[in-house]
């Protein structure tokens, strides 16, 4: 049975990675799982300089998921290259570095810095809803998304995945825009902007007031958007949004994703990715399928 997938020329041993920001650079989860078994590790976003992030509380639970407004706290690219990349290189898994920035120059500086590092892919975060400047500013208009993609592509040596925001009117337009800008792949969805109010204290649950909603509650939205994006572009799609089981992952692949990322579910069970990989294999066996790639976009209208 083949579990390998090819994402923009990079071969993963299986289609399962982790969603940026839920997994650090893997060190904490390495106490719980064998990182060698993941198709890829997607790191927490890293910027050209260290960012302190937002005030606390940064996280809150909502039914069927959670909200976060971490604010892209990160140690900066220098320490990241010195510590996190060598750590991940010990493992036989692909390394996807998530890149964040406040300006086109910031993104390009990090992409250029990573050009000679032993990383396999870059994921450009133009969709974080929790920082005032940059991030989402590039991810909500097709023109600016296309432009930032073009800029980053000038400096990146590795394939570039553009991570899209669901906080847009037309996800297909956004996917087409980054494809036109030269994106090698797209990933979606980032979190949906939400708000939670503590009715006893009459305050916002998060210090940032708004935060990104993630978890199983957003899964159907993610499936819909992955399907729409897959109908609009030719580049491979990494699907994410509320994946918590093999069934969710398979659903995402049937919708058109070539690979999947597991995010919030890692907080519920640090070993969930292992269960998902095993569950996909089991599904293929049960359905007498020999290749996980047969799942990609295999949804059909059916006859009711």
């Amino acid at each position: 049975m083949n579990m390998k997938v090819n994402i923009a020329g990079v071969e993963w041993k299986n289609p399962v990675t982790v969603a940026s920001g839920t997994f650090g650079s893997g060190a904490e989860f390495a106490e719980f799982i064998d990182l060698n078994r993941l198709g890829a590790v997607t790191t927490k976003g890293v910027a050209n300089v260290p960012w302190p992030g937002n005030p606390t509380p940064r996280v809150a639970e909502v039914y069927g998921g959670m909200m976060n407004a971490i604010g892209l706290q990160n140690p900066g690219i220098d320490l990241f290259c010195e510590r996190d990349i060598p750590f991940l290189r010990q493992y036989d898994t692909k390394i996807i570095v998530n890149v964040c920035g406040k300006s086109a120059e910031d993104y390009c500086e990090v992409a250029e810095r990573l050009a000679d590092e032993a990383v396999d892919m870059l994921e450009i975060n133009i969709s974080c809803p929790n920082v005032k400047e940059g991030g989402i500013a590039f991810g909500q208009s097709p023109k600016s998304a296309e432009d930032i993609t073009k800029e980053v592509k000038k400096y990146a040596k590795q394939p570039v995945i553009m991570k899209l925001s669901p906080n847009v009117t037309d996800i297909a337009e956004m996917a087409k825009a980054v494809e036109a800008g030269g994106a090698d792949a797209v990933s979606l969805i980032n979190t949906l902007t939400g708000m939670k109010i503590d009715i006893h204290r009459r305050t916002f649950a998060l210090a940032n007031q708004t935060g990104g909603v993630s978890g199983p509650a957003i899964h159907p939205i993610a499936v819909r958007m992955v399907y729409q994006a897959s109908q609009a572009v030719k580049v491979p799609i990494i699907g994410m949004g509320g994946i918590a089981s093999a069934e969710d992952a398979i659903e995402m692949m049937l919708a058109g994703a070539s690979a999947v990322s597991v995010g919030t579910a890692n907080f519920h069970n640090p070993a969930v990715t292992m269960e998902i990989i095993e569950g996909i294999e089991e599904y293929l066996r049960q359905n007498r399928m020999n290749d996980v790639r047969e799942l990609v976009g295999a949804v059909h209208a059916g006859i009711n």
Binding site: G21, T22, F23, G24, E28, F29, E31, F32, I33, D34, K44, P50, W51, P52, G53, T56, P57, R58, V59, A60, E61, Y63, G64, G65, M66, N68, I70, Q73, N74, P75, G76, L79, H200, G215, P216, T264, A265, N266, F267, H268, N269, P270, A271
Partner: protein, 261 residues
């Protein structure tokens, strides 16, 4: 190295200690690894409530591979309310023990204050059992006459109580109890609400006393990956490379002078 895991602990017993305060013993494979000041992540069986509840460890029974948690039910339909309905034989998913405990070796030969306030009282119990020092002064603050765990503290050292309503011990907070009894110490271990910890930190600074405080914050992963539960630090932290440390992984116990609270 053997991997850590989320495990299914088994409830040994559960009882209510005071209004909204529950005590539960659970048996878990990971229990013998625990030290005073650590916490466990407790998960509900409700699939809509995904995140673990970080709950401090109140007592450790290494031989019996069991942990005691004493926790507050935070409201109706909450995860903690679900925990309070578990009884002997029921299962509860946990990851534990997590974080770093109180540095007990620092107390050797010293006069110590072991300070707990409100729902920060429970972790002080195991500390009071295990700490070896010259003089063990346990100062615990409560809202009212529901002075849970008091008798158990009395077996482990000198106990001083404060209550906000004055119904038991000194009226006021833990520092009022310390002043009222003219107590002195040269090391402090404390766990409690933010305002109490700020006052204890300030008191320690003013009197030049080494002070360790256990912090609390909303958490998501509980294992140091998500950066949800940071506290601000005086110096740039070597892991984060900014003035933040992770309460779940680098704490929850910190030297009072290293954190801004």
């Amino acid at each position: 190295m053997k991997k850590r895991r989320k495990e299914l602990a088994v409830v040994v017993s559960q009882e209510q200690l005071a209004d909204g305060i529950y005590s539960m013993w659970i048996q878990a494979e990971s229990a013998p690894d625990a030290v005073p000041g650590q916490f466990i992540s407790m998960y509900t069986m409700d699939s809509g409530k995904l995140l673990p509840r970080p709950i401090s460890i109140c007592e450790i029974d290494k031989a019996g591979a069991a942990l005691r948690v004493v926790y507050r039910v935070t409201g109706e339909k909450t995860g903690t309310e679900q925990f309070s309905k578990l009884s002997a034989g029921d299962s509860i998913p946990i990851i534990g023990p997590l974080g770093n405990g109180f540095p007990m070796e620092k107390a050797a030969g010293k006069k110590a204050f072991l300070i707990g306030g409100g729902i920060g009282v429970p972790p002080i119990l195991e500390l009071s059992k295990e700490l070896e020092c010259d003089k063990k002064q346990i100062v615990v603050g409560y809202r009212d006459a529901h002075t849970f765990l008091r008798e158990e503290f009395e077996r482990n050292g000198e106990v001083y109580i404060s209550t906000e309503d004055g119904s038991v011990g000194t009226k006021g907070n833990v520092l009022d109890a310390i002043a009222g009894h003219a107590l002195a110490a040269d090391i402090i271990y404390a766990c409690g609400p933010g305002p109490m910890l700020r006052a204890v930190k300030e008191y320690a600074g003013r009197n030049n006393i080494v002070c360790y405080i256990s912090l609390e914050e909303r958490m998501a992963c509980g294992i140091g990956a998500c950066l949800g539960c940071v506290c601000q630090t005086k110096e740039r932290d070597s892991h984060s490379n900014v003035h933040n440390r992770r309460i779940c992984k680098d704490g929850p116990v910190f030297l009072s002078t290293e954190v801004e609270i």
